[in-house]
Symmetry: C2
Subunit: 235 residues, 2 copies
């Protein structure tokens, strides 16, 4: 039977997963809005922001209550602190999606320009990073988190390539300088989403490896903590 405290941890995990789902959806919508020059999707991203902000506050309050009402052991404490950090990163992922939507709203008033940059591909890769980072959190697996860290280098290269190509366009085709700038800023926003996914992966590593360190110190405390580390709850 799960204690009230364990149920509280489950609830916190579920809330964070829902928050992650909202953030990932925002990035996907923003990417699609860019590809299709779709103002309706931009509007959905803007409206979704307040939901994400509300979810962030509720998770922070829930984490605070868990810390205030109970005396969590080291593993649970690291888990709750990781939740508050991941929470902040997911909220900022939502902010980046809003920034992208705002760029798209600027772009749709301008003539379509053929630009040497594959924002759609970059967006798909970045969404995958966010999803994997959340998976590494659900599974509590360092290997998955490490894979996210490696993907970040790929995104950085894509951003650098986009930067070089688009500056070239700005120099050679002044008539599309604003479109090129919009695309460059969208690439930058996507890179920032990747940075947040990286932060999340690092928090997962902090949480899991912190547990391992503690286990080595107090091996007899492992059993009662196991359940909260390998949750049966799934989104």
């Amino acid at each position: 039977m799960r204690t009230r405290f364990q149920l509280g941890l489950d609830d916190l995990r579920q809330r964070l997963l829902r928050m992650g789902g909202l953030a990932e959806q925002a990035v996907d919508r923003a990417r699609q809005a860019y590809v299709d020059r779709d103002l309706t999707r931009c509007q959905m991203v803007l409206e979704g922001e307040s939901l994400i902000n509300q979810a962030e506050r509720e998770i922070d309050e829930a984490a605070f209550d868990m810390l205030a009402m109970q005396q969590p052991m080291a593993t649970d404490l690291r888990f709750i602190l990781a939740v508050t950090k991941i929470n902040a990163d997911l909220e900022r992922v939502g902010d980046q999606a809003v920034n992208i939507a705002e760029r798209v709203m600027d772009m749709v008033d301008l003539p379509v320009a053929d630009l040497p940059v594959d924002i759609a591909r970059m967006g798909t890769a970045v969404s995958a990073m966010v999803r994997r980072a959340l998976e590494s959190f659900i599974e509590g697996k360092v290997e998955l988190a490490q894979a996210v860290l490696e993907m970040d280098n790929v995104i950085d290269r894509m951003r650098d390539d986009a930067f070089i190509q688009l500056v070239k366009v700005m120099n050679e085709r002044p008539e599309v300088v604003r479109q090129a700038l919009d695309s460059l800023l969208v690439a930058r926003n996507l890179e920032r989403v990747a940075d947040h996914a990286t932060n999340i992966a690092e928090d997962v590593i902090f949480w899991v490896q912190g547990s391992d360190v503690r286990h080595n110190v107090h091996p007899d405390a492992v059993e009662e903590q196991d359940e909260s580390e390998h949750p049966s709850t799934r989104a």
Copy 2:
């Protein structure tokens, strides 16, 4: 006499203030590097980053230890959580300073361009925001934190102005498109520093107003908490 726990809170506060000093210094150096096109200062910003990252990890560990070893009451708990959040924001302020330094390193290879943007003034305003946000934290004063939130609107307007002017330059003077882009990205980085100062101010409000709420619930617990709320420690 101060208890071991109170000394721990003092230590945490001192560490965060030192961290804040490092982050503020990084922004000042980056701004000055931009104004003087000074590679030495860029190098100092890049080298300072590892100090800031190390300080961040140490503060996180200290906050974790405080939570793990003691059972903090609600005010102290909010304070410690605010410290971990402010800590993350200060680290990102340092990252923005590094981004600015990297832009300056790109710029110094290009001919000087006279651009209609006052980055120095924007940088000074942004540094002031970071300083005020930290002051609001030291003093535990909501009014100071509110003032920071209002300054953020001013910075956003400066960024929008810079954006409009620089896009115009890019359209009309293709020969300086890269310098204009560098300046635009620096303006954006400064705006992000202002966003982090805003986050810090919001965390201060969460901490202080959370305390007030708690005081209303448990008025007899006020006295023993007073010292940690209005610290005698100063940087």
